[in-house]
C-alpha cells in the first residue's frame, strides 16, 4: 500500500510540474516554428530517368558508367576534393585490367619520401596507394577555397540523406531563384562568393557550378551533357562509398533463399510436433 501511495504521489507531482511549469506556459506562448529564410527554396532530390543501374534489390553496376564517372572525378572533382578511403587497386573493380590500373596509378602524383635525402617529395602512384588529397592540409584547402572546406568524397553518398540522388541533383541545381519562392522569402540573398543551389541544405553553397556541356571528352564517346556527367559521377561516388553494394545484394538473395527454405522445413516440423497438442477442430 505504501509503495502505491508513494507512487501515486510521485506520479502526480512529476506530471504536475511538467504540466504546470512546462506545458501550460508552452501552450500560452505557443508559436509556430520559424522557418529559416531559405526554407521556401528547398527542393526534393531529382533522379535520373529510369533510375540508377544499382537501384533496387536486383541492382547491378553499370561498369561503363562507373568508368565515365571516374573520368569526371579525375578531371573535375579531384582538383579540390580528396577521396582518401579509395585505393588505385580498387579501380580493378570497375573493369580495368591490372596493367591499366598500374598505368592509371602512375598518372597520379602521391606524397613520397626522397630515398636519397629523406625529404618529402612526390612520386608516381602505385596500385596500393590511396588517392592523394589535392591539398596538404585543411588550412591549405580553406585558404584556396574562400574558407570553405571541400569534403572528402569517399563516403559522400552515404553521408547525405538519399546520397546518390543528392549528388545527382546538387550538380544540376545551380538555377536562378524561383520568383514565387522569392516572394515567400523576400529577405533571402546569396552573399558574394556563394552560389544559389536549391538542393544544398541552406541553399547557398560555396562550390561554384562545375559541370558544363562538353567539359570533358568521354573515352567511350558518350556525349558529355551536364545531366550525363552528373549521373555518371553520382554512380561513381555511390561505388566509392560502398564498393560492396552489389555483392551485398547478391549475397542477400542467397541468404534469404536459404533461410526461407530452412524456415519452411522448421515450420513443417513445428506443425507435426504440435499436431497432437492442439485443439481438435470439430468435424
Amino acid at each position: 500500500m505504501t509503495i502505491r501511495l508513494a507512487g501515486i504521489i510521485f506520479g502526480l507531482v512529476l506530471t504536475g510540474i511538467l504540466v504546470l511549469w512546462a506545458m501550460i506556459p508552452g501552450i500560452i506562448n505557443y508559436a509556430s516554428p520559424e522557418h529559416p529564410d531559405y526554407y521556401a527554396f528547398q527542393e526534393d532530390n531529382i533522379q535520373p530517368a529510369g533510375g540508377f543501374a544499382f537501384d533496387g534489390p536486383l541492382g547491378k553496376w553499370d561498369y561503363a558508367q562507373l568508368q565515365r564517372g571516374y573520368q569526371v572525378y579525375k578531371q573535375v572533382c579531384s582538383a579540390c576534393h580528396s577521396m582518401k578511403y579509395v585505393a588505385f587497386r580498387n579501380l580493378e573493380q570497375l573493369g580495368y585490367t591490372e596493367a591499366e590500373v598500374r598505368a592509371e596509378a602512375a598518372s597520379w602524383n602521391v606524397p613520397g619520401i626522397d630515398p636519397d635525402t629523406g625529404e618529402t617529395t612526390t612520386r608516381p602512384g602505385e596500385p596500393t596507394d590511396y588517392f592523394p588529397s589535392p591539398y596538404p592540409n585543411e588550412t591549405a584547402a580553406r585558404a584556396a577555397n574562400n574558407n570553405a572546406y571541400p569534403p572528402d568524397l569517399s563516403l559522400i553518398t552515404k553521408a547525405r540523406p538519399d546520397g546518390s540522388h543528392y549528388v545527382y541533383s546538387l550538380l544540376q541545381g545551380y538555377t536562378e531563384p524561383d520568383p514565387e519562392d522569392l516572394k515567400k522569402s523576400p529577405n533571402f540573398e546569396t552573399p558574394p562568393g556563394l552560389y544559389f543551389n536549391e538542393y544544398f541544405y541552406n541553399i547557398n553553397i560555396a562550390m561554384p557550378p562545375q559541370l558544363y556541356p562538353d567539359l570533358i571528352t568521354y573515352a567511350d564517346g558518350t556525349e558529355a551533357t551536364q545531366e550525363q556527367m552528373a549521373q555518371d559521377v553520382a554512380a561513381f561516388l555511390t561505388w566509392t562509398a560502398e564498393p560492396s553494394l552489389v555483392a551485398r545484394k547478391q549475397t542477400g538473395w542467397f541468404v534469404i533463399g536459404f533461410l526461407a527454405f530452412a524456415t519452411a522445413l522448421a515450420f513443417l516440423s513445428y506443425k507435426q510436433i504440435w499436431a497432437g497438442k492442439k485443439k481438435k477442430k470439430k468435424a
Partner: protein, 458 residues
C-alpha cells in the same frame, strides 16, 4: 526446481554417464532448455521473444568480437578502421552491418519481450525477481548500445556522446566533476573513446551473466502463460524440447529473414547519414538524435522545457535539465516498482478489460508518440506532444495502474490451462469460461497455491 512430472535426464552412453557424475552440464542444459523443463502448453507467439533476445545477444557477441579484431580505438584512426573493415576485411561489411542492425533487432525483440511482460503482468508474484533482473538487463543494454554507437567516431557518435555524458552534469554539486571523470576531459576525447571501447567489450558478458540469473529465476516458478492461470497438472504443460524448440526455431527463421532484409538490402536505414562524417568537435550537426531505440526516453528528457521556479519570484528550485534527467531515468526505474504498483490478483490482460483498454489505447500509443517526437526537431507541435505523452507515461504506471487494479472487475478465468486450450467437454458440469471466480483461482498468488500446483518437485 521443476514440476514433479518433469522428465529426468538419463545419460545413455558410458561417456555421458561419466560426465554426468563429474560435471552435470548436459543435465543442466536438459533441465533448462531441454525435455526436462515443462512449459505451459498455451504460450502464444509473444513468448518467443525471450529466446530471440538470447539469440541476438549471441549474434552481437560473435560479430562484435570479430569486429574488435580489426577496429582501433584511437580518435585519429577509429573512423578509418571502420572503413577498413567495410572495404578490405573479407565480408567485413557483412559483419559490421549485422552488428549495427543486430543492435536494432536486439532492441526490437527486447521491446516485444517487455511489452509481453507488461500486458500479461509477467512481473507479478511469484516472478518479480525475473522482471527485476530483466530491467537490469535492459539498462545494461542501453549503456552498451550507447557506447557502441560512439565507437565509429562519426559526427553522431561524438555529439551523441557529448549530449548523453552532459546529462550527468545536471546532477547538483557533483555533476560537473562527475561528468569530467566519466568522460576523461571536458568533451569526448581519446580517453573517452578508449574507455567506451573497453566497456563496450566488457558489458555484453555482464549482460550474459545477468541473463543466466534471469533464466535461473525463471525456472523456479516456471514460465507464465497467456491465461495467467498457474500450471496445475501435467496436462497443462509440454516439455520445452521438442515443443518450444520447434516453435522458437521456425519463428527464429522468420525473424532472421526480416533481419537479412535489413542487413543486405537496407543496412543504413536505421542509422543516420551524419555518422558517415568523421567526428568534428568544431562542427555541430543540425539535429542531434540518438539511435531509434532511445527515442522514447530522449523525448521524455526533452519534454521538461522549463525550470521549476517559485512563481512570480524567479527563484529556481530545480533546473529544467535536471528535471528531464530525473524523468528519463525515472521512466525506466519505475519499472522496478511495477510488481508492487499493480495489485490486481489477475495476471493476464486478456481478463482485465479496463487494464487492457488503458494498455492498448493509452500506453502503446503513448510509447509510439514518444518514439516519434524523440526524433523530431525541438519545435512545436512536437514539444507539446512530447509533454502530453510524457505526462501520460508516468500517470499510466504510477496512478492509473494502482487505481485500475483496485477498482476493475476482471472477467472469469478458465479453470486451467488445459481447459483454456481444449475447451471443456459438454455436460461436464463447468460453465463456459470456467466456473471458478478469479479470486478463488488466483488468490494465493504470492506463495503458490494450496493444492500444491506450484510447489517445486524437491
Amino acid at each position: 526446481m521443476s514440476f514433479a512430472w518433469a522428465k529426468q535426464y538419463e545419460p545413455k552412453s558410458d561417456f555421458t554417464k561419466w560426465v554426468d557424475e563429474k560435471l552435470p552440464i548436459p543435465r543442466m542444459v536438459y533441465n533448462a532448455i531441454g525435455g526436462g523443463y515443462p512449459v505451459p502448453r498455451n504460450l502464444n507467439y509473444m513468448w518467443n521473444f525471450g529466446v530471440l533476445a538470447g539469440f541476438f545477444l549471441m549474434v552481437q557477441i560473435i560479430t562484435g568480437v570479430v569486429l574488435a579484431m580489426h577496429y582501433t580505438s584511437g580518435v585519429d584512426s577509429a573512423f578509418g578502421s571502420i572503413e577498413h573493415i567495410m572495404r578490405n576485411v573479407n565480408y567485413g561489411w557483412m559483419l559490421r552491418y549485422a552488428h549495427a542492425n543486430g543492435a536494432s533487432f536486439f532492441f526490437i525483440v527486447i521491446y516485444m519481450h517487455i511489452f509481453r511482460g507488461l500486458f500479461y503482468s509477467s512481473y507479478k508474484a511469484p516472478r518479480e525477481m525475473i522482471w527485476l533482473l530483466g530491467v537490469v538487463i535492459f539498462l545494461l543494454m542501453m549503456a552498451t548500445a550507447f557506447m557502441g554507437y560512439v565507437l565509429p567516431w562519426g559526427q553522431m557518435s561524438f555529439w551523441g556522446a557529448k549530449v548523453i555524458t552532459g546529462l550527468f552534469g545536471a546532477i547538483p554539486f557533483v555533476g560537473e566533476p562527475l561528468q569530467i571523470w566519466l568522460v576523461g576531459g571536458y568533451a569526448p576525447n581519446a580517453a573517452t573513446l578508449s574507455r567506451f571501447f573497453s566497456l563496450h567489450f566488457l558489458l555484453p558478458f555482464v549482460i550474459a551473466g545477468v541473463v543466466i540469473l534471469h533464466i535461473w529465476a525463471l525456472h523456479i516458478p516456471g514460465s507464465s502463460n497467456p491465461t495467467g492461470v498457474e500450471v496445475k497438472a501435467e496436462s497443462d504443460t509440454v516439455p520445452f524440447h521438442p515443443y518450444y524448440t520447434a516453435k522458437d526455431g521456425w519463428f527464429l527463421g522468420l525473424v532472421l529473414i526480416i533481419f537479412s532484409l535489413f542487413v543486405f538490402f537496407a543496412p543504413n536505414v536505421l542509422g543516420h547519414p551524419d555518422n558517415y562524417i568523421e567526428a568534428n568537435p568544431l562542427s555541430t550537426p543540425a539535429h542531434i538524435v540518438p539511435e531509434w531505440y532511445f527515442l522514447p526516453f530522449y523525448a521524455i528528457l526533452r519534454a521538461f522545457t522549463a525550470d521549476l521556479t517559485i512563481p512570480f519570484t524567479g527563484i529556481v528550485l530545480v533546473e529544467a535539465k535536471l528535471l528531464g534527467v530525473i524523468a528519463m531515468f525515472g521512466s525506466i526505474l519505475v519499472w522496478f516498482f511495477l510488481p508492487w504498483l499493480d495489485k490486481s490478483p489477475v495476471r493476464s490482460g486478456s481478463y482485465r478489460p479496463l487494464f487492457a483498454r488503458f494498455f492498448w489505447f493509452g500506453f502503446i500509443p503513448c510509447f509510439a508518440v514518444l518514439m516519434y517526437v524523440g526524433g523530431a526537431p525541438a519545435e512545436e507541435p512536437y514539444v507539446l506532444l512530447s509533454q502530453v505523452a510524457t505526462a501520460y507515461y508516468f500517470l499510466h504506471f504510477l496512478v492509473i495502474l494502482p487505481i485500475v487494479s483496485q477498482i476493475e472487475k476482471p472477467k472469469p478465468l478458465p479453470f486451467s490451462i488445459t481447459q483454456a486450450v481444449l475447451g471443456h467437454k459438454e455436460g461436464d458440469g463447468t460453465s463456459d469460461g470456467g466456473g471458478d471466480t478469479p479470486g478463488k483461482v488466483v488468490k494465493p498468488l504470492p506463495g503458490g497455491s494450496p493444492d500444491g500446483s506450484l510447489q517445486p518437485a524437491e
